[in-house]
Symmetry: C2
Subunit: 339 residues, 2 copies
DNA sequence: GATAATTCCACCATCGATTGTGTAGAATTT
DNA sequence: AAATTCTACACAATCGATGGTGGAATTATC
């Protein structure tokens, strides 16, 4: 259980801790340590399986080489892919990431943030719940480098990475309209969520531009879940008037809606068209592969990392940056031209 | 940028660091500190937004309250769900987790392990690549509490959490046989992977018990990917003789195989039956929902955490434990009775 | 041979928190 | 009034690593 430390090595070779430290950090030349001493130390360190103690180093250096990443739902493939890319990019820069999952629980978010700050992470990438922005303020108050991800909060000045939610949605709706759809339903996410608000705004704008009216009954906001998608779709489809197409605000809702449509005995796209935000692996697996708005997941991850690291490295006050990325309409086969 | 430390508070109130420490750790009564002093300290700490420094505490306590979790592919829903449950359980016990993704890269695995040990994590939950067990030995050598997850390595004594791969597969194969299938293909994972070996063993055993012969051409080992599933299925289906059913060794392979089958112009389950290991959200979304062997994901996660923490807490040498969990055959509609 | 110039390292403070031990001064006892 | 007991803290060592400063020993220079 006895671990080798710098002191262990120093004692054996009869040099000081600092000398060992300098050698093992490749600073021995600059510090005027002889090659002979350096070699002895290097060899012994290997023999004793010396492994640096990062807690000590972090304490001393006031730098942990750790980044906190907080997402709302790690089981959503959108986030798990983001995390994969973020982890890979940060790892390449020598950073480790601590991943936290809020599960849309505000208390959890708050407590996780405190925990990350206690651990003195060098920065945080946060995909906030947005019900309250108090948690975010704490991070800023503590002066911890922060990148807000997948959200767009007007009242909060910060670095952002986000996509053109409104424009992306408009592409989708306009595509539906070009196929002759006039009655288009919107099954969205939480009403306090900026993505949902912007996607909804895009939906309304496109409808308005085409002089199409929006039926209140065709619009459902709710949670970003399969269940919400399913319930909303079936509820809408069981009423007297039904739309000819649906827009869904994320992958989970889309899957739920698809299942709901099928369970209502309707076929996609013959009986009803559907288009949604987020691309995902199984979108191509349905009887008719799904047409979606794809977010540039890897690019988003890389931009978040780059933005954050530039904050971490530079103590000077760069103005806040918003990295706004473009979405792409991926046309598959879940909508039908009814012109 | 000046952070409050115990010393800051101590200086203002004119007490010593230790007194402040004891108060903020609720040890003041035991240490004979007056309520008046304690209150003053508590109030001031709050006013100054004091936040404990975990790097310092960890160094002193030789305990980081951090657990490393290493998985092979975080974007696989099986793992992302495991991680979700593991994180939740550990969080409840005051631990933070560092999630690492090897992406089946052995060097990465090795380097991640070293990094975790450098950070002095209190324990590691590892789902190893298994091409080499050297990396695992390092963890054991360093005496870091370890739980091996989702694998079964005979040569390596350790704590394990795993499922009845062989028995589970047998349930699946026997189900197919009971439906009259005699020509059953096996599309598996990496040949060095213990899960794959055991699942394959289960497949062979069931076939043998039913006196069915295994066609070499119907068996494909490879990577746990969509592509491998797709390629294998199409390759098999394009040959002269084709099986009436497939068993697939994980969720990715299953999806790939399904797509392959569809792209060959065949219908599931009318033309060909399929059954696979791992349940997943979209299994229910296909035209005909998929029949699968479900692993008790949450239970696996909780057992891994419990096992690990018992190692972390007790320094005494408990004998190694293997937590072997049962799988469940979830019958949906991807197989057809051809009796 | 004496002084100057290097070479090569040791010393010590520091990061922030924790804890065992020691001790003034007040309170109580005899 | 002296002895004893409490009360309420302070002190200092420790965890392991880092880096500025200073100085002994060796070599070079005239």
């Amino acid at each position: 259980m006895n671990v080798t430390t710098l002191q262990t090595i120093a004692d054996i070779i009869n040099v000081s801790r600092s000398t060992v430290s300098r050698v093992l950090n490749n600073k021995w030349e600059r510090s005027g340590i002889s090659r002979v001493t350096a070699d002895k130390i290097t060899v012994l360190a290997k023999d004793l399986n010396y492994l640096k103690n990062d807690t000590a180093r972090s304490l001393r250096e006031k730098k942990t080489f750790t980044i906190g990443v907080i997402v709302r739902d790690i089981t959503n493939p959108f986030y798990s892919h983001i995390i994969k890319f973020v982890e890979r990019a940060l790892y390449a820069k020598g950073y480790t990431i601590i991943i936290c999952n809020t599960g849309y629980d505000l208390d959890r978010e708050s407590s996780l943030i405190n925990s990350l700050i206690s651990r003195r992470v060098d920065g945080i990438i946060l995909s906030p719940i947005q019900k309250s922005i108090e948690n975010i303020s704490i991070i800023k108050f503590r002066n911890v480098p922060l990148v807000l991800f997948d959200c767009n909060i007007d009242e909060m000045k910060a670095d952002y990475v986000l996509v053109d939610n409104e424009a992306g949605t408009m592409k989708a709706i306009e595509y539906l309209i070009s196929q002759g759809h006039k009655e288009i339903g919107y099954i969205g996410g939480n009403s306090y969520d900026s993505n949902n608000r912007l996607r909804y705004a895009g939906y309304r704008k496109s409808m308005q531009l085409a002089s199409l009216s929006i039926h209140k009954n065709y619009v459902k906001h709710g949670r970003y879940t399969f269940k919400h998608g399913y319930d909303s779709a079936t509820e809408i489809l069981r009423s007297k008037n039904v739309p000819t197409a649906f827009f869904t605000a994320n992958n989970r809702i889309m899957l739920g809606a698809c299942k709901g449509i099928m369970d209502c005995g309707l076929q996609i796209p013959d009986d009803i068209s559907i288009i949604g935000f987020d691309d995902f692996e199984t979108a191509t697996m349905l009887p008719n592969p799904l047409t979606v708005i794809r977010q540039p997941v890897q690019e988003m991850a890389l931009n978040a990392v780059a933005l954050l690291l530039s904050r971490v490295d530079k103590t000077n006050n760069i103005p806040y940056v918003t990295s706004l990325l473009k979405t792409e309409l991926v046309i598959r086969n879940s909508t039908k031209d009814i012109n």
